[in-house]
């Protein structure tokens, strides 16, 4: 095979610390290399044309590009060699940027290392074989996990685009965090007024099937053909019959149930509909608090229900759905702030979270929109807001900035003044993060028009003094310690990955970062893709986000799905395992270890043999490293290809 080698300067990114010309020169000495050169920007149009030209001129059988990471441009260059009539797999990359030029300044060592990597690539290339992908049919339905604003956006966009959508929501209503908000920044328009209609659209859209109070149990298959096992948790209410009239709620005698929707501000009934605008507007029983389910007594709801939909025997139900793509929009949860002993660690009732405050502000909330101290129901006068609780704090393992707390705190300060004109708000902050259209103007208004007192500094402790809370913080601009007698303290608690996010990631086979947020395909260029084909991200599951960005991602994810489904067939990745039938002795070790059950037993002249099902094989290669006689080989990563790399690097 005649090989061409192209060593990229990547402007100065590589050239600055690697002598690319020397690398090219060295490459010319490698066996099989018929042409080698260094180029300014290999990925640019002229750069690619140069490759095409060289292939034609020197009739090259394979190409090596030494530049950035293959995770960046392997696809690009495969298309390039294809344009020149080569099979896309007769191409190899040497990563001399991320793995060389960017991690050290020693030009000699870098050049030398680059030469090694190029040698390795050429050696592998000589063992490459043309591979051809197969086409397979796809199921043009999409699963949306999570019914928050991001999920809703993605679902509606897909549905309007003509796709069948299956939405799975963990709680008994969609709406997510946004549904709990009173108003939204920076426009201060009513959250439920703008979200409500979208929720109704989801309920009414002919293309959308909604499974509320359900969770993902199992995910199998691959892009185009996923098989999803959904667990419908027992609600003890037959939702086909329930009309959401709410009589059961009025009559239910156990009124001490935790009110999750209201963030524990106030209590609710054992059988409940989270809030008036809930979608679906159906009742469910919280088994922990229902005396019928715990003690076997009561049964009031069954008696009063006009449609007779109560069923205390109800069990969890499992449903299988087939889809071709998945949008994950599982959102975030609030950081457990009780680790802050200095803020009372949860012992002081009048220290609450921002989300709890939202429920208090909301007219549909437990206090009917009146701001009251949880301890004694009194109207607070001095309200202290503390920012960065569980954000930008290494000591609690949350070094990142949640990003939207500054804004919602400003909003809450403004709303507080509207609700209680006599009140005075204080905000302890470190920096104000107000990037975004009209955002900074908004925080300025909080100070200029609403006279919110912004104090730059963290709070070191809160402790009760009489019926007030003494908040002791710093004003670093004054350079002194300050104290505020507060009636109510609201903590701007930061966001963390949703509970169970990592478990779901394992089912989806996508990766997540140290904090449990899902990893996008590429930080810049693949913001809503993941490294698993057919799985996309929307909203805060990828990292803390405010409403506009979540919605934007929801639409972006939908666009990706619609794009994927614009074809009737997908091409399978030919980097899969094949069995050399004469080498196989039918011991079945590969079958035992394949994570996908992609290898089955067949018979050949009365002898047992292994056989790979190409569309199911994902190309991990466990079988190849398991088979003692090397009968099953993962194409493009065969034993010989890897051995040739080893030999290229370690020449005795």
């Amino acid at each position: 095979m005649k090989i061409g080698v192209f060593v990229c300067h990547c402007g100065s990114n590589i050239e600055a610390t690697v002598d690319t010309a020397a690398v090219a020169a060295a490459a010319r000495q490698f066996p099989g290399v018929a042409f080698a050169t260094d180029t300014m920007y290999t990925c640019s149009e002229p750069g690619q044309d140069e490759i095409v030209a060289a292939i034609k001129e020197h009739n090259l059988g394979g190409v090596v590009v030494a530049s950035c990471t293959p995770r960046m441009h392997e696809q690009t260059f495969r298309r390039t060699v294809e344009r020149a009539g080569l099979n896309r797999y007769l191409f190899e990359m040497a990563n001399i940027r991320e793995h060389v030029s960017w991690i050290g300044k020693d030009r000699e060592a870098n050049t030398n290392k680059s030469i090694d990597l190029v040698r390795m690539a050429t050696e592998k290339l000589t063992h490459n074989r043309p591979l051809y992908s197969k086409k397979f049919d796809i199921n043009k339905r999409v699963l949306v996990i999570g019914g928050g604003v991001a999920g809703i956006q993605a679902a509606l966009d897909c549905a309007d685009g003509g796709l069948e959508v299956v939405m799975v929501e963990k709680t008994s209503t969609i709406g997510g965090k946004m549904a709990k908000l009173d108003k939204t920044f920076p426009t201060v328009d009513c959250s439920s007024c703008i979200l409500g209609p979208r929720m109704v659209d989801v309920a009414q859209h002919p293309n959308i099937t909604l499974y509320a109070y359900s969770e993902i149990e199992e995910i199998n298959g691959y892009v185009g053909n996923f098989e999803i096992k959904v667990k419908k948790k027992a609600t003890y209410v037959d939702w086909d019959l329930c009309t959401g009239c709410g009589i059961c709620m009025e009559k239910c005698p156990s009124k001490k149930a935790t009110d999750f929707f209201n963030e524990g501000i106030g209590k609710t009934t054992a059988i409940n509909i989270p809030f008036p605008q809930a979608i679906p507007k159906k009742a469910k029983i919280d088994p922990a608090f229902c005396t019928k389910l715990t003690k076997g007594k009561c049964g009031v709801c069954a008696k009063v229900c006009p449609s007779g939909c109560i069923n205390y025997e109800m069990q969890d139900e499992f449903i299988t759905e087939k889809v071709g793509a998945i949008v994950t929009a599982t959102g975030f949860d609030l950081f457990d702030w009780s680790v802050y002993g200095e803020y009372g660690g949860g012992r002081y009732p009048d220290v609450i979270t921002g989300l709890q405050y939202e429920r208090m502000l909301s007219a549909s909330g437990p206090t009917g929109g009146h701001i009251k101290r949880p301890s004694d129901g009194k109207e607070p006068k001095n309200i202290v807001f503390i920012q960065c609780v569980g954000s930008r704090d290494k000591s609690v393992g949350r070094p990142y900035c949640t990003g939207f707390c500054c804004m919602y705190t400003a909003k809450q300060a403004i709303l507080t003044k509207d609700h209680l004109p006599e009140s005075q708000s204080y905000v302890f902050y470190m920096d104000i993060r107000a990037i975004g259209k009209l955002y900074d103007e908004f925080t300025r208004r909080a100070m200029e028009e609403y006279d919110t007192k912004y104090i730059r500094g963290r709070v070191s402790m809160i402790y009760p003094k009489g019926d007030k809370l003494l908040v002791r913080g710093a004003d670093t601009l004054m350079g002194s310690q300050v104290e505020v007698d507060a009636d109510l303290v609201v903590l701007a608690v930061g966001a963390e990955a949703a509970a169970g996010a990592s478990k779901l990631a394992e089912k989806l086979r996508i990766s997540y970062d140290t904090y449990g947020f899902y990893m996008e395909g590429h930080p810049k260029l693949k913001p809503v893709e993941t490294n698993t084909a057919g799985v996309y991200l929307a909203g805060a599951c990828q990292g803390p986000k405010d409403i506009p960005s979540s919605v934007a991602q929801g639409s972006a994810a939908a666009a990706k799905v619609l794009g994927l489904f614009s074809k009737d067939q997908l091409e399978s990745d030919p980097q899969v395992s094949i069995v050399d039938i004469k080498r196989c002795i039918g011991c079945g070790k590969c079958i035992k270890t394949c994570p996908y059950g992609a290898i089955k037993e067949t018979e050949l002249r009365g002898m047992v043999k292994a056989d790979v099902i190409e569309t199911i094989c994902q190309g991990c290669g466990i079988c190849t490293s398991t088979c003692p006689q090397g009968a099953v080989q993962l194409q493009h990563f065969t034993d010989n290809q890897i051995l040739s790399e080893v030999n290229a690097l370690c020449q005795f």
Partner: protein, 319 residues
């Protein structure tokens, strides 16, 4: 051997249903036995079981797949049969296993050492305690205990672990406890370069005849052994010590969790390279990390073909 007649009896009883029964019989001189394939009743009379019945006959089974085969097994041989069953390389219904209480077999190299040479042995009388060998018209008596193969002196499975017919009184298997790795541990006392040098010296003798592989009952790749293949191309065909050593590692790793330490590889080696030690080391690790011993349970899944989410005995490096 007292149970020999009993054994012959039950072989002849079942012979009609079998295509062949494999055992041992006398060989070119009184000091050697050789594998014996019995197809007719009269063949059975030649069957001889003695401390000379060294060969692990399980090696022949995969090759005879599809035929009805009877096989006479020592305790250690039977564990190879178990492995072959576990890897469904033979079918239980086609194999009839004859067990007997094995008191150990000799190590020819030890005898050779004791006698100087074993050129023209005239006779060899064996008792439980001694070998009486007549050669060059003088008689020499060797203590049986000293002539036994190492694996026998520390044998934990004298009786077949699996059998359809068992002749004689069972001695009693000790099972998986107190395994003796003294040899390995002693070797590991050597310094790093000493160990490295040792293997180079030993493997230098290797003539790449692959007798070790051919004798191994679990080297089932047969014509497609990595040693002589170009795809995958693990080894060159040159006469160099690197490839010779590499082959032994490949053999050992491919046997990880499968090897029963029958010792055939080492016995078969014409130039006496202690290749068994590689497998013993591998087994020691398998045992310590996964509490697993090959060749005991046909239903078991070997450790390298399975995993646990949390591995109790694996502590990973912290950086």
């Amino acid at each position: 051997m007292k149970f020999q007649e009993e054994l012959k009896k039950c072989i002849s009883d079942v012979m009609p249903e079998l295509d062949v029964v494999i055992g041992w019989c006398a060989s070119f001189d009184p000091l050697h036995a050789t594998p014996h394939f019995m197809r007719r009743k009269e063949d059975i009379d030649k069957l001889e079981i003695s401390p000379l019945s060294v060969h692990n006959l399980a090696t022949y089974l995969p090759g005879l797949r599809g035929k009805k085969v009877g096989i006479v097994v020592k305790g250690c041989d039977s564990r190879s049969v178990v492995e072959l069953l576990q890897e469904n390389l033979i079918d239980r219904k086609d194999v009839t296993i004859f067990g007997f209480p094995c008191t150990g077999v000799v190590d020819q190299s030890k005898i050779k050492k004791a006698l100087g040479h074993t050129g023209n042995v005239e006779s060899c009388e064996m008792s439980d305690t001694a070998l009486v060998i007549k050669m060059d018209d003088k008689t020499q008596t060797l203590a049986m205990a000293e002539m036994l193969a190492d694996k026998c002196s520390s044998c934990r499975y004298p009786d077949a672990v699996i059998s359809d017919y068992f002749a004689g009184e069972k001695i009693g298997n000790k099972g998986e406890k107190d395994v003796d790795y003294a040899a390995v541990e002693a070797f590991e006392k050597l310094s790093v370069p000493e160990r490295f040098g040792y293997w180079l010296k030993e493997l230098d003798r290797c003539i790449r005849c692959y007798a070790c592989r051919n004798a191994c009952p679990l080297c089932v790749c047969r014509d497609h052994c990595a040693a002589e293949s170009r795809d995958p191309h693990w080894l060159s065909q040159e006469n160099n010590v690197r490839d010779k050593l590499m082959f032994q590692v490949i053999h050992a790793y491919h046997l990880a969790g499968r090897c029963t330490e029958c010792g055939e590889c080492q016995r078969a080696c014409p130039v006496d390279i202690p290749v068994l030690m590689f497998k013993q080391k591998m087994n020691q690790e398998i045992r310590e990390i996964f509490q697993y011993e090959a060749g005991v349970d046909p239903e078991a899944t070997p450790p390298l073909l399975s995993f646990k989410m949390e591995e109790e005995n694996i502590t990973e490096k912290v950086w």
